[in-house]
Symmetry: C3
Subunit: 259 residues, 3 copies
């Protein structure tokens, strides 16, 4: 069975995701849908790009990734099919595919234009159902990309935010907050391996950040930094939500003092 992995901001309270799977099952019964998540914050292209980037390589080669976070649905933005070294990606051309596809290595790009591979009726508001899902199904079932549309030379690419690092401080950005309240930063372990003492600057003064290897090492009530499973440093609080306590949100800049 060919895997189709879905990533959207549709939530699971409506029938949106279910209907997309119905369409896929109708068009390519031998495919198997797996959900990455459907809880991307509504219209948040960067969060979706991050989750796709940190997920794709764990899926079987030849998986088709179907990504619908598409605030400009119905407008003239392109609908992209990206073939990379090991995978296919289908999604709007708004950058959401870029971090994953570029890391795996883009082999070819097609913008979907052949309505023969869409549903017979295409709405202006739910192209996940009417265009994206059918495309993913047809690709999983072996339709050649060249039949789906025009070859393209380039795609919209998002820039990854870089931290500012000096000898006394790091200005970083919260790039994701997971459901445990761990705040993932855009910095890597190597970036301050040499520093002994770290402090987070907050409105109420400096808060100490211990360096830990795993969550259970930490003491209750103490904030700590560890290298999380996304490959980036996370601000955490043992069995509690660091993000809530420190009022952190995605996109926020944080300043870490090094001593």
């Amino acid at each position: 069975m060919k895997t189709i992995a879905l990533l959207t901001d549709f939530g699971q309270s409506d029938n949106f995701v279910g209907v997309m799977k119905g369409v896929i099952s109708s068009l390519c019964p031998q495919s198997l849908c797996l959900d990455i998540t459907h809880a991307v914050p509504s219209w948040n292209i960067r969060a979706a790009a991050f989750l796709l980037w940190k997920s794709y390589s764990f899926f079987p080669h030849q998986t088709v990734f179907l990504v619908v976070v598409d605030p400009t649905v119905g407008s003239w933005r392109k609908i992209l099919i990206v073939k990379t070294r090991h995978y296919h990606f289908v999604g709007p051309d708004n950058g959401v595919l870029s971090w994953a596809a570029e890391e795996d290595g883009v082999v070819s790009l097609v913008s979907a234009s052949n309505s023969k591979y869409f549903l017979p009726q295409v709405s202006a508001t739910f192209q996940g159902r009417d265009i994206f899902a059918p495309l993913a199904a047809h690709i999983a079932c072996g339709v050649a990309l060249s039949r789906l549309g025009r070859a393209e030379k380039k795609m919209v690419s998002l820039e990854f935010p870089r931290p500012q690092i000096s000898s006394s401080r790091i200005i970083a950005e919260v790039i994701y907050i997971d459901k445990f309240g761990n705040a993932i930063l855009n910095i890597k372990k190597e970036d301050f391996a040499s520093f002994r003492k770290l402090y987070l600057k907050t409105k109420k003064g400096l808060v100490g950040l211990e360096k830990k290897t795993f969550y259970h090492q930490a003491k209750k009530g103490r904030f700590f930094l560890l290298e999380g499973s996304f490959g980036f440093l996370e601000i955490a609080l043992k069995e509690d939500s660091a993000a809530s306590y420190l009022k952190l949100s995605v996109g926020m800049k944080v300043e870490i003092i090094l001593k």
Copy 2:
């Protein structure tokens, strides 16, 4: 593989849906469960009937729809199996199946009574697990409906609310609110294609509603109406929740002034 599509108000925080899938896998291993949604508001038959109606036709022919929104579970309401032109539906006889089944065309009705096709132990409170899931599995695996119970002549049928339309105003009803906060009304595009200017009556006065074709066309902060993917008109607000701002809820009447 035969598709079984599930629609319930069980949520996904308990083990209810998982256990139903376990039962189905045990009884019909060659079936594949797909979720429509499990977030129907608790005990809300109309919301479930609407979502089923707007979903079923996107699934492969011969799909078995397993619908459990069943506030009278354990009482003497019938458990229905409806064969329509292209599908099977299993659910309580409370109207939840009616809009979908009637649109596709009812071929035959059976009320389940043969406990040989239930789980050996039937509880009074979780018949989704003990009766509905086994029935769906047996149907998917080819058991003839005549073996499951008695033929019935009719089912409970819900009435669809009709809007009141005059030359100066439309009194409509909010029939669904999706996770983006779009409020779906019981009116179709044709109902006021000829009107230029539309206003929603609110406690704070008239609010202009622009007519748009897709979400991105609208300006931030302006309310608009468009024909959504459910096939009905929706009140929307660009990249925000119209329902929250306008305090709309399902079942609420709204008055639209036409000029």
Copy 3:
């Protein structure tokens, strides 16, 4: 297809569950993942143990249960594989598997130590992805347990809370609250079959509890007790949340007066 049933506290807002399924699909493509739930309250071993216990027997024999509620991830707690009479269980050795495994009958225990069956890179924070998911996949695909690690003699076992029962009262514990707000107690129907009148002691005085067989029998606004589908007595409120009205939470002791 071999079933792998997943139970975690990962939620479905991140990519954690999706990535685990990607890993499983990569390593054992002929397996099928089914979710029990991923909404176990974070780090709550008892709630997970309860849900696993009340779910496992509804799944096909030979199902592999993959349970990740693991507050001590990365520390030296063992990673267990439990073979029972009809199933396999994979999870941390913190008691989460004990109620289910002991009921089905433990045949053998192995602590996973052969990193050949882990992902090549093992993080200290997401062993669900790096260790547990690969183990479940390899077991589903037929790898002998003896190749995965060392035989163990015993596992951590949770004690089930017992109610205190006298002729005039029962002191019980809320062991689970479902999404409808029904509060499941650690008492069985037999425990007070002979009593006619029951009252719940609350801060505002005694609240009558009627005895019912199914939810719909009750009157609106009245609290009642029934034997729920978990096999325990539940405090319920018709089409409303008993737990919210009575401010009940998991682990809370409640006193029921018998007359």
